[in-house]
């Protein structure tokens, strides 16, 4: 009896695992945990399935990646050199854009004027535009400081693109933090310096 029950559970597990696997595998974009949960209605089971899939695929040519709270299959970066698939050669980003992206990624959420302060130069038109168009940045919550400035943060698409699980996996972020370089509040020149009317 017990044995039978166990067997039924195994069959159910295997069936639901196939569903989850197929859902993630079929899509080219990451699928959110919530969408998967809606298919299964059993969070414990879903967590087990995701873990099981992650392990099963970890040594394959295709791996299951968890990006924030979304899931996607991506080819293993171990074999990247041997793939040579029709690559879309990305337009190289300007230096202003790459630095701005890094500042947003490492300091997020961050306002436009804080970005300008870090780079010590005003942000030229079109820099944020390019990053927005790539879908790598998105607006965060507004600051509750005067003027309620908009903040910017990176998106899941950004994490996916750079093969990161979450923001704290950004390369070198701990070094920056330990060196106290993630402090946004040290300002040399700001508007007030000049407008002391």
């Amino acid at each position: 009896m017990d044995n039978n029950k166990k067997k039924v559970n195994e069959i159910e597990f295997s069936f639901k695992e196939k569903i989850i696997e197929a859902l993630i595998f079929a899509s080219s974009e990451p699928i959110s945990y919530n969408d998967l949960k809606n298919k299964i209605n059993d969070e414990d089971l879903l967590n087990q399935i995701l873990e099981s899939l992650e392990i099963q695929y970890s040594s394959r040519g295709v791996n299951l990646l968890k990006i924030n709270n979304t899931f996607a299959f991506r080819t293993s970066s171990e074999i990247s050199e041997f793939l040579n698939i029709e690559k879309v050669v990305p337009k190289p980003l300007s230096r202003a854009a790459t630095e701005t992206l890094s500042i947003i990624a490492y300091h997020q959420p961050i306002t436009r004027s804080e970005i300008e302060n870090i780079r010590g130069v005003s942000l030229s038109r079109g820099t944020l535009d390019v990053l927005l168009e790539l879908g790598w940045i998105q607006p965060g919550q507004r600051r509750s400081t005067p003027g309620n400035p908009l903040t910017w943060k990176t998106s899941n698409l950004f994490l996916d693109h750079f093969g990161l699980k979450e923001i704290k996996d950004l390369p070198g972020i701990d070094d920056l933090k330990n060196a106290g370089l993630l402090d946004k509040n040290k300002i040399i020149f700001n508007d007030e310096t000049l407008s002391n009317e």
Partner: protein, 264 residues
């Protein structure tokens, strides 16, 4: 264009020797004054943690001098930084015991060092980030996706960018009236220059820059632009050797005087 460290080094030497062919040099390769400072520090292998502000200030000013002599368009932000560094340099060279504001020079050095290290940090991680394997270049997504209706909301695709771009288009299309903003007159640097020259002539005491700004401007933007233009104009006058500028600390007023230069 962007210089390699070596090119820059050569340039610096050339500027010192003053026997150089004219080079089509510009400041375009730098992303602002902090970036330029970083570059100079790197060229001279200056350790940012043991930063010699004095040395760096000298190099920056020298470079600026060189650029200006070569008639290179130097943006205001480089001049502002140059002004600060010149101030700092004088403070560091001639420490004045009676001056209570000496602290601000140290604060400034410290902040400057912090800013440079922070920007250097950004540039380092930026390289690390873009050296990573990237989707579509080094690793790939499913090339031939099958579409399930996970919840049939996604049969249309539109991104936040599409959305706000659409709104931007509507605004630019409709807001021909926005162009009424065109009526704001910005105070031109040329006007400020003429005005300053007239007013400062023969004045031999230090006067607050703010006092030179026309008082009858009602429009806020125009007032601000007048402030900015007068500031830039005052730098221009310093550059041309007509006036002296000083500011004792960050919070203090910017003062100018034409004492030394009676005849304009």
């Amino acid at each position: 264009m962007y210089f390699t460290d070596k090119q820059l080094n050569d340039l610096m030497e050339q500027s010192q020797n003053e026997k150089i062919e004219v080079l089509s040099l510009s400041l375009d390769g730098f992303e602002g004054p902090i970036d330029l400072l970083l570059s100079l520090a790197r060229d001279h292998k200056i350790d940012l943690t043991k930063l010699s502000i004095l040395k760096l200030a000298e190099q920056y000013l020298e470079f600026l001098d060189y650029a200006i002599n070569k008639d290179i368009d130097v943006a205001a932000e480089y001049l502002v930084m140059g002004a600060w560094l010149a101030f700092l340099k004088s403070k560091l060279l001639l420490p004045d015991d009676t001056d209570e504001n000496i602290g601000s020079a140290e604060d400034f050095s410290e902040l400057l060092e912090f800013q440079m290290r922070r920007l250097e940090g950004v540039q380092k991680v930026s390289k690390l980030l873009f050296n990573r394997h990237q989707l579509g270049t080094h690793f790939f997504k499913r090339g031939n996706p099958e579409n399930f209706n996970i919840n049939n909301k996604y049969s249309y695709s539109v991104s936040l960018y599409d959305l706000i771009k659409a709104y931007g288009n509507i605004l630019t299309k409709n807001d021909t009236e926005v162009i009424t903003i065109a009526e704001t007159k910005l105070y031109s640097v040329e006007n400020a220059l003429t005005r300053l020259k007239e007013l400062i002539q023969g004045s031999d005491e230090w006067k607050n820059l703010l006092d030179f700004i026309p008082q009858n401007i009602k429009n806020k933007l125009e007032r601000k632009s007048a402030l900015a233009s007068h500031f830039v104009a005052s730098l221009e006058l310093v550059k041309d050797g007509y006036v002296d500028l000083r500011q004792d600390s960050f919070q203090d007023a910017i003062l100018l005087s034409s004492k030394k230069y009676k005849s304009l």
